[in-house]
């Protein structure tokens, strides 16, 4: 054997980590240093291929990596130290797991001989993150490190994407071992996600679609995760079949909001036409969505008369909440391609004129109606103005969680996938600002806006400092209603209007706060000043905190009250006190 000191694959564990990042095409990572990762930081210092973005809190690193991943389709990478660094990652890891976002987190760990001794900054990172990752690893031998890192990237990005974590003790980072570039055998033989759909099931699906009288396509984040081909095929399927299409919060943008078959989002705050179409349809094609409880409403009354086709890469999504008739397991791009091929060869566009007429009547209810005002900015109006002002621009939107998030989903039209980053499954307040940082790092010249709430934005506000440091001109558009609006809405509707701790007391002066960070602050109160202020925000090439003072007590409608079915939506014009009381009637038991 040759002299090991000349073997270029001999290197320290820390060097292997940087080398593996480069081999996987990673150009940007988000992280925060600490004792247990200093050898890695030392390697980062001595190279220039991987840019490290220093966040202000590890949660920010995780969400930034999520934003980066969702806006690019590439995995996001975060680097954190042991103990508190790792525990601060729990929220973003869980968030990424719920929303199927490919994330690779590398965490430092105390040296192997100290593991289990309650050493300084020790925690059981793999134990803590086991339920919030797709898979995780503790690497005890430097010679396993390359294999584990390559496998980590593969697991994060293949099948149903998700977060993974590799925990690397400090002595393993220092130790020298043999690196190898990625290769097939790096992956568990037990892990082989299914890509191709079953041909018989595909034929059954086409037969249902071809004979449908009242069809609907219900698509989700899986279509976007599958990649551009899935989006293209979904659009083609809508074109070829002429079917109406709705989507989950996560799936917005796969079909363009300006498309003529678009029904708007479905679910708890979805449009009347989307939910009624779902309820009354005879054939439902669910692509890359998972029938979660914000979508279905009461499950025993969910779309009672329909045959359901469900395309999903994760078999555990099938029949979890809703029994389906034709499950097809595999990659939705692949399966949509097969369905289209069979459909085009063997079926004709079904005549569903009567169904479209019915849908037109539901549309005419104008379920997103709101009363405009000359005195006070309505939050819906603010989103619409923002949308108009950014039309035709290269725009990416992130959000926090609350009413503003739902209004953004309802009133901001997305024409393309990867443009809409929101915390859907976990509903993480504080997601949007760091996610915007991640998106802006990936798309330095694009317009990146976090549509925020006054409460949420304070959860990760410190990442403004990151934005200023790296000259990331993110725009934080705060719909400031001085409330945790969504909490207040539930309290009004369900808890006798007892507004327990949902008022945003002692709000900071956001303009001064922006300036304190070295960013730009803009505040607007009057509807007449809104458009000009938005223009100003867009033209500033620096991070902006935009304090948009909106009507404090506006609520988000339409809405499916709890325990109700899709056809029992509460519409805005009905949402007077009496109707609301009736819709939410059912006792005072507080659960």
């Amino acid at each position: 054997m040759s002299d090991k000191s000349h073997d270029p694959n001999q290197m320290t564990g820390a060097a292997m980590i940087v080398r593996a990042l480069i081999d996987h095409g990673v150009t940007d990572i988000f992280g925060y240093p600490g004792g247990a990762v200093l050898p890695i930081y030392d390697e980062i210092f001595q190279q220039s291929e991987v840019q490290h973005i220093l966040v202000r809190h590890e949660q920010g690193a995780g969400h930034a990596a999520e934003g980066y991943a969702r806006s690019t389709g590439k995995p996001g990478v975060a680097l954190v130290t042991s103990g508190p660094g790792a525990t601060n990652m729990v929220t973003p890891l869980t968030d990424a797991l719920m929303d199927s976002i490919p994330l690779v987190c590398i965490s430092g760990q105390v040296p192997t001989h100290l593991i289990g001794n309650d050493a300084f900054q020790e925690c059981d990172t793999v134990g803590i993150t086991r339920p919030c990752t797709k898979h995780n690893w503790l690497v005890r031998d430097v010679n396993d490190l390359a294999k584990v890192l390559h496998e980590a990237f593969y697991v994060a990005t293949s099948g149903r994407p998700g977060p993974v974590l590799v925990d690397v003790p400090k002595d393993v980072q220092f130790a020298t071992g043999t690196y190898h570039p990625p290769r097939k055998s790096d992956v568990h033989r037990s892990y082989a996600p299914r890509v191709k759909g079953d041909a018989t099931q595909i034929r059954k699906a086409v037969a249902l679609l071809a004979n449908a009288k009242r069809p609907v396509i219900y698509s989700g984040g899986g279509v976007i995760n599958s990649g551009p081909e899935a989006t293209r095929l979904l659009r083609e399927l809508v074109e070829v079949t002429g079917f109406p299409i709705t989507s989950t919060l996560m799936g917005l943008g796969a079909y363009p909001a300006s498309g003529k078959n678009w029904l708007g989002m479905l679910g708890m705050h979805g449009t009347y036409e989307a939910n009624m179409t779902m309820h009354d349809c005879d054939v439902m094609l669910c692509v890359g969505a998972r029938f979660d409880d914000r979508i279905t409403g009461r499950v025993d009354a969910f779309s009672p008369g329909s045959k359901k086709i469900h395309i999903d890469i994760d078999p555990s999504s099938i029949n979890k909440n809703i029994r389906v008739d034709v499950p097809i397991i595999g990659d939705c791009g692949n399966i949509l391609g097969d369905i289209l091929q069979v459909f085009k060869a063997e079926a004709k566009k079904p005549d569903i004129k009567a169904w479209w007429q019915q849908i037109a009547q539901w549309r005419a209810r104008n379920s997103l109606y709101y009363r405009k005002s000359n005195d006070v900015i309505l939050p819906q109006h603010a989103i619409q103005s923002l949308f108009e002002a950014t039309r035709g621009k290269d725009t990416y939107i992130t959000t926090e969680v609350g009413q503003h998030q739902m209004w953004a989903a309802q009133f901001f039209g997305f024409e393309e996938p990867h443009r809409w980053m929101t915390s859907g499954g976990l509903g993480t307040m504080g997601y949007g600002l760091p996610a915007a940082v991640g998106v802006q790092v990936a798309h330095p010249d694009s317009l990146v806006i976090d549509i925020a709430g006054d409460a949420s934005v304070q959860m990760t506000m410190q990442e403004m400092s990151t934005a200023v440091q790296y000259e990331l001109p993110i725009k934080i558009f705060i719909l400031n209603n001085q409330y945790m609006g969504m909490v207040r809405q539930w309290q009004q509707l369900l808890h006798g209007n007892r507004l327990s701790h949902s008022y945003s007391e002692a709000l900071p002066d956001f303009v001064k706060l922006a300036e304190a960070y070295g960013g730009v602050g803009i505040q607007v109160h009057k509807p007449g000043d809104l458009d000009g202020a938005i223009q100003e925000m867009i033209s500033v090439k620096r991070p902006v905190l935009f304090d948009c003072r909106v009507a404090a007590l506006e609520n988000c409608f339409p809405m499916i009250p709890s325990g109700k079915a899709h056809n029992e939506m509460l519409l805005p014009e009905q949402a007077n006190d009496e109707a609301t009381a009736k819709a939410f009637a059912g006792g005072k038991a507080l659960v």
Binding site: V126, H188, R189, L494
Partner: protein
């Protein structure tokens, strides 16, 4: 149905529970059992019995046998959730194959004198339990069989001076020439 005020749809499901035995072939690596158990506790599934041991040391394969109860939809979920774990090779529902043999081993300590001792030995003989330890006032029996048989044997030992029981939990294997 009166729905309490809640952000969630609160529904009770009334499907009857079933008991299933699952065989799970896994890569024997650190934490794999924690993953499986964590899945059950995290998602609120039941574990009635769980056994695990390496079965092919060359390939680092372990076989986990889990007896679980749940509605048919939950059982289906459990299988899918297990199957999608990275180190899991295969999940077989032994109950659905209807061709599986299930065995458990128990060690049963009985303390007594005189007629009770004689009776314990007689029953042990009838159940094909072996004496693996004896003193003048006690026996430890080893018994193998399906869960029902072992339960029955333990019930019979109770009035004869049952002290304690140690059970392995269920191991299962399919009949016929094929492997899982």
């Amino acid at each position: 149905m009166n729905q309490p005020a809640s952000a969630y749809f609160i529904e009770e499901r009334h499907d009857p529970n079933e008991t299933h035995t699952l065989s799970v072939l896994v890569q024997n690596e650190p934490g794999v059992l924690a993953r499986v158990i964590g899945l059950f506790s995290g998602r609120g599934y039941n574990i009635e019995s769980l056994t695990v041991s390496e079965t092919e040391s060359q390939k680092h394969l372990s076989r986990i046998t889990i007896v679980t109860t749940g509605t048919p939809m939950v059982i289906e979920q459990i299988k899918h959730q297990l199957d999608r774990m990275i180190p899991v090779y295969r999940v077989v529902d032994m109950t659905l194959t209807r061709r599986s043999i299930e065995r458990e081993l128990a060690m049963v300590k009985v303390r007594g004198q005189g007629e009770h001792r004689v009776e314990a030995l007689r029953l042990a003989d009838a159940f094909r339990a072996r004496v693996i330890d004896a003193t003048t006032e006690s026996f430890v029996f080893e018994i193998t069989g399906n869960t029902d048989k072992i339960n029955q044997y333990i019930d019979l030992m109770r009035p004869l001076g049952l002290v304690e029981v140690s059970r392995t939990g269920v191991a299962a294997i399919g009949r016929g020439p094929e492997g899982m």
